[in-house]
Amino acid sequence: MKLSGLQIFWLMFTFETGNMILLTLSPTFQDAKQDAWISFLLASILGTLIVFVSSKAALLYPGKTLIEYSKLIFGKWLGILIVIVYLIQWYSVIADILREFAEFTITILLPTTPLWVLVLTMLLLLIYITYSGGIEGIGRCSEVFGPIILLSVFILLILSVSIFNYKNFLPVFSDTGFVPILKGTVHPLSFLGESVMMLMLLSFMDQPNKGPKRAVLGIAAASCLVSTVAIWVLLILGPEIASKLRHPAFDAVSYVTVMDFIQNLEILAVLVWLLSVFIKLSLYFFLANYGTAQLLHIKNWRKLIWVTSAFFFVLAVIFPNPTYTYIFDNTFWIYFALPVNMVGIPLLLWFVGSLRKKYQANH
């Protein structure tokens, strides 16, 4: 199982775009109003820093995964604790994304389909790609899906230039100020920060040295695209409406029409979104299985898939109503996962790891 530099780029790009476009726009517009694009640009800069730090940290021990080198850096018990913190994040987010995927699909495409069917179908796909392809299969998939996403967003933007209302940008800054803009930054940042999975992914690269650069480029490309989409939504719907809709990008797509005969493009947008969500889920799915197997010293990590899938299925179906995924995104993800998993631990790993390396080199 080897990943090339190009695959890392497309992996980062593909897994970030879809869900970010769907889920971060509305909360950011709520906080930062028409200055949401500033929030997105800030988040882009901070997000690339996160991925840079985490891939640099992983580069200290090339060929070893987070599960292995966190023990080398922090010792056995602290290392295991750190791994468990990440496993909690991965396990919970898989269930959360599965649930969100199923609910959104039900809302817009399949209103009478039972939820469990959608969760199960997606899980079967995940099992298939992870079991037979592993991380390499996911990487190759993203090489195909990534360009499709890029192209379709690009086409949508071009088709809608004529309905842009540039006045929606104004007034810049004076309605909001620093605090609301920073508050808005948190939402996209907590999604961009998911790129800390580079801590694991780097060990699968054939040329780990290329990792940091490719990953940073991938995240930069993804955040550019998402920021562009945010500006696009702002120009079509304006800040007030965008903040009240749950998925403003979806409504903006359905608003696009070309000469009255190209209409209702939202279904295409949903298909593109599905590609991205699939990559994101399968990445987390692989990491959760592989990480658990390494932690528990199970030789064949593929056998674990059956156990974990059953767990994910139950977890995804057990949320009693849609507000739980909303609460998950707005509490655990922002107040715990962002500061601890995405900022704190990667920095610590990098810092302590480099110190340790220097210390070892001196002796």
């Binding site: 399949l110 389909t113 039972p114 309905i163 104004l170 304006g238 007030e240 359905s254 209409q263």
Partner: protein
């Protein structure tokens, strides 16, 4: 063994491919293309819908015989839209499908009662597009408006959309602009108005197959306050002026008539620039500069427009008449309704955001007191095929 399992799995997956839970056959759907809203007892609503009859909508006629109507109208009462829709469904054999809904009409009484607690359904549902046209029907109910057929358009509601588009208005962006105005502090909503009319002006209205069939005509614009209650009406000419000030008018024909001449100019490039100014004693002044470029359509005089001086003179006349009319409209809106349908408050919001913070709370009081100066700047870019009118003799032509 493995192959057998694979094959079985493949066969089983067929069950999922068909999407059996959510099949939506076209012939099990009722295509709902226009919605109407009216008042009902106990603060309820009466929802009406124009529904396409698919078998009568084909364009290739089968020879002679009477034209079949391409639609029918259906309505029912309820507490709100969903409740009324459930009641409609009791007499509709197919499931109402709103994905193609393009027009919403409010009865005047309904518009005066207020829209605020009614419209959520359209945004909550994923299949209804934000791209809709929206109208108020003057002095009548929406269900009657939806029952009027049109000689040109098979689903007749398409005719209102066409009228709206061709008159240079907001067209199918009207609904989104209503939502935007409803959420904004410095812009009050305005919705185009329809009225009952007939093909021939001044003649008695006949039935739909007669020479004078009933029609719906665009009749101006309805003004709403910030609670989304309709407060009054502007006529079609004032509607155009309003749209010009807002900068969204697409085309406009200005005509003037003096005792020895009359002329018309069609502007197809219109723009508006608004400069707010707030003096030390808090007096607000807006300078509205309206620009227009277009082609000369009529010049019933001996004026030879090929001479630059004459063209200047014409341009001045057009500027004068349009300035006067727009100024009248603006003053009327200020004095009679006091509601900022032009979005001048939003201009302050954008250009002087700090001052806006204190103004926005009582904008409805401050707007009528503001000075609004309208200036027009009109350029004739095309002359057409003749210089002076051909009906004038050499001696009458002014070079």
């Amino acid at each position: 063994m493995r192959k057998i399992i694979l094959r079985l799995g493949l066969c089983l997956s067929v069950l999922f491919i068909s999407g059996c839970w959510d099949r939506k056959e076209l012939n099990e759907q009722a295509l709902w293309i226009g919605s109407g809203w009216d008042v009902a007892k106990n603060d309820g609503v009466e929802l009406s819908g124009q529904i396409v009859i698919p078998s009568n909508i084909q364009t290739q006629g089968g020879g002679g015989g009477l034209m079949q109507k391409g639609f029918f109208t259906i309505s029912a009462k309820g507490k709100n839209l969903s409740d009324a829709l459930q009641n409609i469904q009791t007499k509709l054999s197919r499931e109402a499908f709103s994905g193609q809904r393009r027009v919403i009409i409010f009865g005047e009484q309904f518009a005066r009662r207020g829209l605020k607690r009614q419209l959520d359904n359209s945004q909550r549902r994923a299949d209804v597009s934000l791209r809709s046209d929206v109208f108020v029907i003057k002095g009548s109910t929406a269900k009657k408006a939806l029952s009027v057929s049109n000689p040109l358009e098979k689903p007749p509601i398409a005719a209102t959309l066409g009228e709206h588009k061709i008159s240079g208005g907001r067209g199918n962006t009207a609904y989104l602009s209503l939502l935007m105005a409803a959420t904004s502090d410095g812009l009050r909503p305005s919705i185009p108005v329809l009225e009952f009319s007939s093909s021939l002006d001044g003649e008695k209205k006949g039935n739909e197959n007669s020479a004078n069939p009933p029609l719906l005509r665009l009749a101006g614009v309805a003004i709403f306050d910030k609670n989304l209650k309709m407060q009054g009406l502007l006529n079609m000419e004032e509607n155009r002026h309003m749209l010009w000030v807002m900068g969204i008018l697409q085309n406009l024909t200005i005509s003037f008539k003096k005792k020895d001449m009359n002329a018309s100019l069609t502007l197809n490039k219109l723009s508006s620039k608004i400069e707010p100014h707030i003096s030390k004693n808090q007096q607000i002044t807006f300078t509205v500069t309206l620009k227009g470029e277009g082609s000369l359509k009529e010049n019933n005089s001996g004026l030879d427009v090929q001479s630059p001086n004459n063209l200047k003179r014409l341009e001045k006349e057009f500027e004068k008449i349009s300035q006067k009319q727009v100024q009248q409209t603006v003053t009327k809106v200020q004095k009679k309704y006091g509601l900022d349908i032009f979005g001048l408050g939003e201009v302050i919001h954008r250009k002087k955001p700090n001052q806006w913070k204190s103004l926005k709370y009582d904008w409805d009081k401050r707007f009528p007191e503001a000075d609004i100066i309208v200036k027009t700047d009109i350029k004739i870019k095309e002359l057409g095929m003749d210089g002076p009118s051909l009906l004038f003799k050499e001696s009458e032509i002014k070079k």
